[in-house]
Amino acid sequence: MNDRSDKDLVVSCLAEDKSAYKLLVRKHYKRVFLTCLGILGNVHDAEDMAQDTMLKGYIKIGMLRDGSKFGPWTARIAKSLCINFIRRKKYAKKIVAERIIDANRSVNQYDNLQLAIEQLPQETRAPLVMYYFDGQSVKKVAERLEMSKSTVYLKLRTAITELHNLLAKQGDSK
């Protein structure tokens, strides 16, 4: 990996050094992707929005005043893009409904799990996604989502019991 600080890399980006931005992508992509996944619940959509976030970050890098804030800054871009995405597509209702029909055909246990994650309410899904897919640190989740640690615990508890209910329902419908 590279040891250059975000601040340093952002300065290089301002001098139109694309390779510096690529290093920022490597460093921050996962977090951005998980932020999108937390909001959208669907891996493919999260990939699209994470990509848009990174591209938009590249284009707007000149607007970032403090390079060391690249992380939270891209998180905000990701959130705003995802929220617009949902709004545009009336996403939640229609597409999830289509996938449920689809899921009846799928046999993979991970597919079922992903579908269940997608059906979780966003406010419990985001902590679940951050916690399980990024190193199981409650502290980190709390920072990223700007919640207290105790709130994160509460949401995680709700998330896993809800997830179980959704998975059980899937099992019943087959």
Binding site: L14, K18, L55, I59, R65, Y110, L113, R157, I160
Partner: protein
């Protein structure tokens, strides 16, 4: 499907998450031993917990591929001219001497825009050429970035030499009034000056309050970044359809055409991403001379708080030669080296 005992459900969830205290864990363990429903529930949650961690590994395995895709997209992407102007502007503000050259960048951009929207490219190419090979230009520049007060500078560009005089500031921030008073008291027209010579690769900053100077070498990159020949290429990508003639004005008896560039497709990918934010450039053009009379660049960006930045160029003079002394890198009498 079996349900756990009501009182136990949350405890079981906490247990699986590993956040249940030792004592409570022991009590729970005892209960599970004697309750089939709860025991089953623990197994189910544990199983799901394991699946989630496996899914995490699965997602991780593809993370590099996803990043590669982003990087591919980055490679395909080349920013449009206006985006470039604004990001260039940010670098500029970090390095005083480049502030000077930036002005030239934006003027060239404006000229190219005008040439493209006016359609008379051949005739206008000549004007661009004249300005690119600038004999001399002067103008007033006001710029406001974020919450900073708007600074007003007078710029002089002549060939490879450039001078910026900081002549004032607008805004109601404390200190600005003092600044204006102090300038008046000392009978100064500028409180700071920066002089640059791109051929000699040298620059000098002057502080007229403290009577100090600072000399600097201009590094090759700074010089190269603002070599004017490249600038023309940089602004070729502005599309004529992004521009619109929005009206005309009469100023001091002269006909002025007003052009607007808006919703510049900043992504080259998805127009809707720019949404209500974005940047626009308004150019007032003197009809008789086809030269800009005023240029206003505005950018609003709502991700980092609602902020609006603007840069305004006005009071242009074209090809009125300046006294070479204006660009002299000789230290003025009575000025001492600035302490760091």
């Amino acid at each position: 499907m079996s349900r756990p005992c009501d009182k136990m459900q949350e405890k079981i969830a906490d247990y699986v998450l590993g956040i249940l205290g030792k004592e409570e864990s022991d009590t729970l363990a005892e209960h599970i031993d004697s309750c089939a429903d709860c025991s089953q529930y623990v197994q189910a949650l544990k199983n799901e917990n394991r699946l989630l961690l496996q899914l995490s590994d699965k997602l991780d395995a593809d993370m590099a591929i996803r990043q590669d895709k982003v990087i591919e997209a980055l490679n395909r992407h080349s920013p449009t001219a206006l985006t470039k102007v604004l990001s260039i502007w940010r670098i500029i503000m970090k390095n005083p001497i480049t502030k000077l050259a930036a002005a030239a960048v934006i003027i060239v951009a404006a000229l190219i825009v005008i040439s493209q929207i006016s359609g008379s490219t051949t005739a206008f190419a000549k004007v661009i050429e004249n300005v690119v090979n600038a004999e001399s230009i002067s103008f007033l520049l006001k710029q406001q970035l974020g919450i900073q007060p708007a600074f007003i500078c007078k710029m002089y560009i002549q060939g490879e030499k450039i001078r910026m005089d900081m002549v004032g500031a607008e805004g109601d921030q404390q200190g600005l009034e003092k600044l204006r008073e102090e300038m008046k008291r000392r009978n100064l027209t500028a409180f700071q000056s920066m002089i640059g010579d791109f051929t000699a690769k040298e620059a000098m900053d002057l502080d007229h309050f403290r009577k100090t100077f600072k000399k600097r070498q201009l590094d090759d990159r700074t010089v190269a970044e603002f070599t004017r020949t490249n600038l023309v290429e940089q602004f070729r990508s502005i599309k004529p359809e992004d521009a619109e003639r929005i009206g005309e004005e009469l100023q001091n008896g002269r006909k002025i055409d007003v052009y607007l560039l808006r919703h510049v497709d900043i992504m080259g990918i998805k127009a809707e991403l720019s949404g209500e934010e974005g940047q626009r450039m308004t150019v007032w053009v003197d009809r008789a001379s086809s030269l800009p009379a005023k240029i206003l660049l505005e950018a609003s960006f709502h991700v980092e708080g609602k902020s609006k930045d603007w840069i305004e160029f006005s009071e242009f003079t074209w090809n009125e030669p300046f006294d070479e002394d204006l660009f002299s890198l000789q230290v003025p009498e009575g000025y001492n080296p600035a302490k760091l």
